[in-house]
């Protein structure tokens, strides 16, 4: 195979590499798309059974999500935190970790970003905005490090620890928002922190009002995550630990550190999502906001086939459904929970992709499946 002309062989090899990935790329696109279509059909049946008009419902949903610049902006705003939490979950998946704790990491990120946002004043936006973002990301990263360290040093399975850490985060942030950090504005009776200063608010892009800057940041993070996973040696370590920790140990990779680092980065992404939400949408920390964003990350990550770039369309889809939900309820009198039903069916079909492959007669690309569960790990 030694080729006399290196440039020729390079083209050949790139083509070779691409060619071998065509089925993979095709399957990663076709399965979710068909899953979405089938789910919408099943959703339509449910709507019909309960006496609603699916066309009207879906029409209103679509109009609310994409009908005008405001709708598009709302869709993108909803997609933004979902991209972050989806990335957080997907990233951890790559190291074989199931980070259900994105929720806790996200709300800590949101809280800490708001503390920096209202606690520091008199600095220009160019410093204040990134400072608060970094603070939020750091908080998420530190909170993500806990289950990572527990997994590494005690073998405690991250699914259980992160579920528990979510409750803990909720209790602590509730306490803080209603106690020491409560907004002291006269007349305020609500459990919430003060509003962040304008200098900490993520500014709008000039001219393109439908495009929130947070969304751009989210897409940027997706690219960085992809690059980290597939181009760097660190990413190679993370993936190897995920695919075969024994081989990683054999190869001299530090599995323990890699697990912790993965959870730190995962938590960082979630925390950054919380910070972007605080600085772009909510402008303060308030219990009751950010409620399900972390949990939705699981759906997003699975829907996006745990690929950083897959997460973006998945988040857009769910974001659009969320953005149009109220519109749908308002115009078509359909309970918004139908969206949860559709989302569950999509998730089921994507996870059980062999059903769809059977329908569209496509063979699985080997190693395509996602595998997480193998005990709770408190032994070994």
């Amino acid at each position: 195979m030694a080729d006399p002309n290196p440039s020729d062989s390079r083209i050949l090899r790139i083509w070779d590499s691409f060619k071998s990935r065509i089925p993979e790329i095709w399957s990663s696109i076709s399965v979710p798309v068909v899953a979405v279509i089938i789910s919408l059909l099943i959703g339509a049946i449910i709507l019909l059974i309960s006496g609603s008009n699916p066309l009207r419902a879906y029409g209103a949903l679509l109009e609310g999500a994409l009908g005008d610049a405001g709708g598009i902006r709302r869709t993108l705003e909803k997609a933004t935190p979902l991209i972050f939490s989806g990335l957080a979950v997907a990233f951890a998946f790559k190291a074989g970790l199931f980070n259900i704790g994105a929720q806790g990491q996200l709300i800590f990120g949101a809280l800490v970003a708001s503390i920096v946002g209202f606690g520091i004043s008199g600095i220009p936006a160019i410093i204040h905005v990134p400072l608060a973002l970094i603070a939020g990301a750091t908080a998420g990263a530190l909170y993500g490090a806990i289950p990572g360290a527990l997994r590494t040093f005690t073998g405690a399975h991250e699914v259980i620890t992160t579920i528990m850490l979510n409750y803990i985060a909720l209790n602590i942030t509730d306490y803080l928002a209603n106690g020491p950090l409560k907004d002291p504005t006269p007349g305020n009776i609500v459990a919430r922190t003060p509003k962040i200063f304008d200098s900490a608010v993520i500014p709008d892009l000039p001219f393109i009002e439908w495009l929130p800057l947070g969304f751009v940041v989210a897409c940027l993070m997706a690219s960085i995550t992809w690059w980290l996973l597939w181009r760097t040696t660190l990413g190679y370590e993370i993936r190897t630990v995920g695919q075969n920790p024994n081989a990683a140990r054999y190869a001299g990779m530090r599995v323990a550190q890699t697990v912790i680092l993965t959870m730190v980065i995962s938590g960082l992404l979630a925390g950054l999502g919380g910070a972007v939400e605080t600085q772009g949408i909510v402008y303060r920390f308030q219990p009751g906001f950010n409620v399900n964003l972390g949990f939705d990350g699981i759906t997003i990550a699975l829907l996006g086939k745990t690929s950083p770039f897959g997460v973006i369309p998945a988040a857009l889809l769910v974001g659009a459904m969320r953005a149009g939900a109220s519109q749908m309820q308002f115009r078509a009198d359909v309970a918004t929970e139908i969206i949860d039903v559709i989302q569950a069916i999509i998730l089921f079909l994507v996870a059980a992709d062999m059903i769809i492959r059977w329908i569209i007669r496509q063979r699985a690309a080997a190693g395509d499946g996602i595998s997480l569960s193998s005990g709770w790990g408190s032994n070994s």
């Binding site: 909803k78 909720l170 509730d174 308030q286």
Partner: protein
Amino acid sequence: MKKLFFSTAVMVLAMIFIVACGGGEESAAEGDCSSEEVFCVGLVTDVGQIDDKSFNQSAWEGVQAAEAELGAQIDFVETKDATDYLANIDLFVEQNYDVIVTVGFALGEATAEAAAANPDIKFIGVDQFQVEPVGNLAGLIFNEDKAGYLAGALAAMLSDSGTIAAVLGTDLVPPVVAFKEGYEAGALSINPDINLISTYHPGGLDVAFTDPEWGASTAAQAMDQGADVIFGAGGITGNGALIEVAGSEGTFCIGVDTDQWETVPEAQPCLVSSAMKLITPGVLGLVTQAQEGSFPSGNFFGEVGLADFHEFDDQVSQDIKDTLSDIETGLGDGSISTGYSP
């Protein structure tokens, strides 16, 4: 399988079209809210449903009353996500609704912002205290502590055991705190030695009002300690407490917000009264004023008080009734203070 899939898909599509064609007319009856003749009232819920047996539902009933009495054209939007408050208000703004009701303190900021941006539309913010009044925005607020005070006094007078309890939602929500403080002050005003046991739900906002099992179990825990009057104030969590008490003879329960004799019929065996904040008439009143052009701005205090005793009327002695009406007068003229300040 493939065939089956496609034939199902075709069938579903066909059904959709049939329904779509048949049902296409239903929306035509709606009038144009921007016209002078059509008086439109919209309502935006807090996160949760319109049928939550709690404040969303009470406020909606007020709007429905406006439909019946004033001929208003009404509609509502359920909020699914707390970041959508403004967007949901805008759904009504775009259609030039005349009055927009927003429910819950959490919508306060969004409502104020929308009111500032749309001076032609009247806004009613339920449970929203106004610090800086805006002309077209009325905060419908309640002195829950006063209702709680009455309930506490009633409880203390009814109790034989000298122990009364309160099962509450979360202290993250100010009205709940007001009810509790009032309840305790009221009870102590009757019997300074009374044993008061009250507890908040330990969870966060997302669970505190929707955990009836905790409510029931906690009520039982209180009854086991001799509590014979239990105040359930915390949405569905509190309802769980009421229903639990209903199964225990010789124990009274007191409901909250509305007259729960109607909304929680399972609790009728124990429900002596409810500490009401009358959202429904409050909303109706403000909507009526808006239509008549006498819309107040700033804070508008809704009525609070105890609900009817219903079937317990003969169990509540005249002495008790007299004392309660004295207290009510005292609370009204300021001679009695609940001691609660937010």
